[in-house]
């Protein structure tokens, strides 16, 4: 046990030493904050370390400057408009949002905000899924969730990916809501946070199934792609990128 702990600490120190000396935002508003939505009932933080790990992975792998201590906020908190990214996770049914929360969610998305929803339920538990669908159809009655094809720019916004994956392999697609020609909501049922979560010593908190660490890496890459899409939109759809990407995809 001691040997494992020492190894883990050494690995963490090495990663810290290799961390990018990238540009830090000149004000906290500029840094990318993986802000988690708090809500009543259910469990709004089933993978507590996941937002921080996502912020870390994004900062380590890309040029994006992230807030390494992500914040949380309720939807009826006026500060949700301070940062345009919200992470909505859970593993159980939750109580209906208040009218103020529901209307703030609609406003947040129409003003340009982005929401990543991650279902961390055990397979077969549909409580969180039912709650999410209820609230989305209430806040955005005219913009239903729809299957996002795997040739969407989300799958090549940074890494070239074939399909979404998380702690579990899950469905071969994610669902999304499009607002004003951009994907504003991505709903994944792969327990993305489960693949990211690490304890303070750097140990992975959950085993990834069925493909182990290779799948975990693909899950992390997918999470990075989501952040990159939120910031760059369909940049990788620009014509100038097409020949490079086609070549790498073997097209």
């Amino acid at each position: 046990m001691l040997a494992r702990t020492i190894t883990t600490l050494a690995a963490a120190l090495l990663l810290a030493a290799l961390a990018p000396a990238g540009a830090e935002a000149i004000g906290e508003a500029s840094a990318f904050d993986v802000r988690t939505i708090e809500y009543t009932g259910g469990n709004f933080r089933p993978r507590e370390s996941a937002p921080r790990r996502l912020a870390w992975e994004v900062r380590k792998r890309t040029s994006i400057d992230t807030a390494l201590e992500p914040s949380t906020a309720r939807l009826d908190d006026p500060t949700i408009f301070e940062t345009p990214f919200l992470s909505w996770t859970g593993d159980a049914a939750f109580e209906p949002l208040s009218d103020a929360e529901s209307s703030a969610l609609a406003q947040f998305l129409s003003y340009g905000g982005f929401v990543l929803i991650d279902d961390a339920s055990a397979e077969g538990d549909l409580g969180f899924d039912a709650s999410i669908r209820r609230e989305l159809s209430r806040a955005l009655p005219d913009a239903p969730l729809a299957e996002l094809p795997n040739d969407h720019v989300l799958f090549r916004s940074f890494y070239l990916l074939e399909r979404p994956e998380g702690r579990i392999r899950g469905p071969d697609h994610v669902e999304a809501i499009t607002v004003s020609d951009r994907v504003a909501v991505i709903y994944t049922r792969h327990d993305l946070g489960g693949a990211l979560a690490r304890d303070n010593l750097g140990n992975w908190e959950f085993a990834v199934e069925p493909d182990g660490e290779a799948q975990r890496e693909r899950a992390i890459r997918f999470a990075v792609n989501v952040v990159m899409y939120a910031l760059c939109l369909d940049y990788k759809d620009d014509q100038v990128h097409a020949p490079f990407i086609m070549r790498r995809r073997g097209g």
């Binding site: 990238g22 540009a23 000149i26 906290e28 500029s30 792998r61 994006i64 003003y111 890494y159």
Partner: protein
């Protein structure tokens, strides 16, 4: 019944005629009759074996009668009775005063001929002068004894006939003295429908020698930096075919032609020539196309034509380079991408050299940053270049920075937007980019704690900049200030050393000051060389979108601000402080011109002038052709009225004002089309006049000397008093009769063995 009788002192003629009311007229009725006859014959042949010989004639007669009745009801025979009266009317005189009447022939001008004729007609009519009208582009009353200058830019004979009758309904006939070069058409139809007799006197017949530009055109709207096509048709009349040099003038070239072509024009024929011109500035562009005037040229005016086009952008080409993904970059890209008139090329640095991507290059969707291609080959093709939070050094771009400076000084637009990688952090102070920025960047060695601040602040509109269109986001400075105060605060500032001379600082930090003591600039602009430069010293303007939206319910401010900024960078002329515009692009000679504009300083405040401003009309040779004083209102705007020049060509209306001895100028080109198409084909058209007379039962005379005195011309007018149409079978009784005969025939057929 046809006949004529005198009723109340006038001859009334009644004319009757038979016809049919079926579509297609008599021919259709005849065809229908033949079809009925064939059907009757076929029917009777079938009937022959089914009834006795005694009964056959009766049934056959009934069938013929019923078929005849059905045919008559179908074609509806009609009697038309027209009652017309011939009445004595007044004789009016129509004199052609269009510009083609100034065409000279070996015996003088057409107008000379017209004046001689008018004087002759005046003799003997002093006591009861006839109604006289001068016509061309318009029709107005005139007199035989006054001069008739030929200045109209069009010849509209049909409109003149209608206008004369409307003015004086007692007119029974008109006599038209003209060269017949009617450009409106429909004169015969007009005379027939008005029921007036038109006598014509053809003037200007004789040999004509003229080289001229029959047609000249350029697209009304052309696109910036794309070639536009100028097309001309050159006509030669009365001389053997041969080469004619065609020259094109325009742009800044003054009296030096920018292109020349030689066309081979056949005798009494035309040849077409075209030019391609490059348009490098937005707004109106004036060109002149000309040919030499040969000796004895009848119409020198048609040897030169002015052309005007409006140059617009087809697409705004924007290069957007961002040093890292951020919300500020995301919002700007969203704005630029949504605009369908934008050609956007984006390059975002998604990973830096120190990032650990944990993947092979083949697993990444990243492409090399093509700096050479962008900044060596294609830089000049962009209208605006954005450097957003971008550090040049890691991409070996030192060699390209002088090119960017040159690009701006030659007319390009450049915007630098702040962030942790921008301004002093990137070391632009030590590069040629500094020469095009409106602010002095702190040296790269400046500690980050000095070069940036991270507090929240609401920027304030700089003193004096209240009316600048980039920051006046309300109807007036007061509402604009309220709007700014209601916005979400920004966070973080790239501190600069100072604003540079010639720059305009539009937004400042509310409390921070630069080392030189001025409020820290947040937004500043300048115009280095012929280009434009904009600097935004923060990376949080995106908060004017979503964050302000959450606080106020209105998230549109970000777009409103950046839309203005983009239009300014793209040289939208409506944002220029000094401008002059005319209400039209083309005028007739001497026409009323409404001129308006603004005369403001770089802050868009009204200019304080040493002497009154004035508007001046100048021709291509810089000759002043007219001037009016300008009265500015309190916002620096003005409205004025001027008269267009009396001669054809291209001109500029120029705003001239003195401020501290320095002339402040703005100008707008326009065209006067006096020659226009009226003189494009100067040949007389006696054939058209002759046809008009024949169709309206008038007389035609070739030449003024053959025209009789006015009293000898028939002025009676044929007026239709009424028309009556009688259709004897258009009644219910006719239908009853048809049904009765058909019924009797049917009953007898059934009883006598037929079917």
């Amino acid at each position: 019944m046809n006949g004529t009788e005198e009723v109340a002192g006038r001859l009334v003629t009644v004319q009757s005629a038979w016809g049919v009311a079926v579509p297609g007229g008599a021919s259709a009725a005849l065809l229908l009759g033949l079809a009925f006859a064939v059907l009757v014959v076929l029917d009777l042949r079938g009937l022959g074996g089914k009834v006795t010989r005694e009964r056959f004639p009766a049934l056959a007669a009934l069938r013929v009668v019923s078929a005849l009745l059905v045919w008559l009801v179908a074609v509806q025979p009609t009697v038309r009775r027209d009652e017309v009266a011939e009445e004595e009317g007044r004789l009016a005189v129509l004199l052609d005063v269009s510009r083609s009447m100034e065409v000279r022939t070996p015996t003088g001008s057409r107008r000379d001929e017209l004046e001689t004729l008018a004087r002759r007609w005046m003799e003997g009519t002093e006591e009861a002068p006839p109604p006289v009208f001068a016509f061309g582009a318009t029709t107005r009353t005139s007199r035989l004894g006054e001069p008739h200058p030929a200045r109209d830019d069009d010849t509209l004979l049909a409109a003149a006939l209608g206008s004369a009758i409307e003015t004086d309904p007692s007119i029974g006939a008109v006599v038209v003295a003209s060269d017949g070069a009617d450009r409106g058409g429909s004169a015969i139809e007009a005379a027939t429908s008005l029921g007036i007799r038109v006598h014509t006197v053809a003037l200007g017949e004789g040999p004509l020698r003229d080289d001229g530009i029959a047609e000249a055109s350029i697209d009304r709207v052309a696109f910036l930096r794309r070639p536009a096509r100028v097309r001309a048709v050159v006509r030669r009349i009365g001389a053997p075919g041969g080469p004619i040099p065609v020259r094109l003038f325009g742009g800044d070239a003054g009296d030096v032609p920018i292109a020349e072509r030689i066309v081979e024009v056949p005798e009494d024929g035309t040849a077409e020539v075209s030019f391609e011109v490059n348009l490098s500035e937005l707004g109106r562009a004036l060109f002149t196309i000309s040919i030499p005037s040969p000796a004895g040229d009848a119409v020198p005016e048609n040897d030169r034509r002015a052309l005007l086009t409006r140059v617009v952008r087809d697409h705004l080409r924007v290069l957007h380079v961002a040093g890292q993904p951020s919300w500020d970059q995301r919002w700007l890209r969203g704005l630029l991408e949504r605009d369908p008139t934008m050609d956007l090329i984006s390059f975002f640095i998604l990973r830096s050299g120190t990032d650990m991507v944990m993947a092979d290059a083949s697993d990444l969707a990243l492409i090399p940053f093509p700096t050479d291609e962008l900044f060596s080959e294609h830089l000049g093709s962009f209208d605006v270049v954005f450097f957003q939070n971008f550090e040049y050094a890691p991409y070996a771009m030192e060699v390209h920075l002088p090119r960017i400076r040159e690009y701006v000084e030659r007319g390009g637009s450049f915007a630098m937007i702040g962030g942790p990688l921008s301004f002093s952090a990137a070391g632009y102070a030590e590069t040629e980019i500094q020469r095009i920025l409106p602010v002095e960047v702190l040296p790269r060695s400046t500690p980050a704690s000095v070069a940036t601040t991270s507090d929240r602040f609401r920027p304030v509109v700089a003193r004096g900049a209240e009316r600048h269109p980039l920051v006046m986001l309300g109807a007036d400075p007061s509402t604009s200030a309220d709007t700014w105060a209601a916005l979400a605060p920004l966070q973080g500032l790239n501190v600069v050393a100072r604003s540079l001379p010639g720059a305009h600082v539009l937004l400042t930090h509310p409390s921070d000051r630069t080392g030189s003591g001025e409020p820290s600039p947040v937004l500043a602009i300048s115009e280095p060389g012929r280009g434009r430069s904009l600097a935004v010293m923060t990376d949080t303007t995106w908060r004017w979108g979503i964050t302000s939206g959450g606080a106020t319910g209105d998230a549109s401010f970000y777009e409103r601000f950046w839309d203005r900024a983009l239009r300014w960078l793209a040289r939208d002329t409506t944002l220029d402080p000094v401008r002059v515009t005319t209400d039209r692009e083309r005028y007739g000679a001497g026409a009323r011109m409404a001129v308006r504009g603004t005369l403001r300083d770089g802050w868009h405040a009204p200019l304080t002038l040493d002497a009154p401003a004035r508007l001046v009309i100048v021709d291509g040779g810089e000759r002043e052709l007219g001037t009016v004083p300008v009265a500015l209102d309190e916002t620096g705007a003005f409205d004025a009225v001027m008269a267009a020049p009396e001669v054809a060509g291209g001109f500029h209306v120029r705003l001239v004002a003195e401020r501290g001895g320095e002339a402040v100028l703005a100008e707008e080109p326009f065209v006067v089309e006096t020659g226009g198409d009226e003189l494009a084909d100067p040949r007389a058209r006696p054939d058209l006049l002759e046809e008009l007379s024949r169709a309206s039962e008038g007389s035609h005379f070739r030449g003024a000397d053959r025209a009789p005195r006015l009293g000898e011309l028939d002025a009676t007018r044929v007026r239709t008093l009424g028309t009556e149409l009688v259709r004897p079978l258009a009644s219910a009784w006719a239908l009853v009769l048809v049904m009765g005969v058909l019924g009797v025939e049917w009953i007898l057929r059934r009883r006598w063995g037929g079917r």
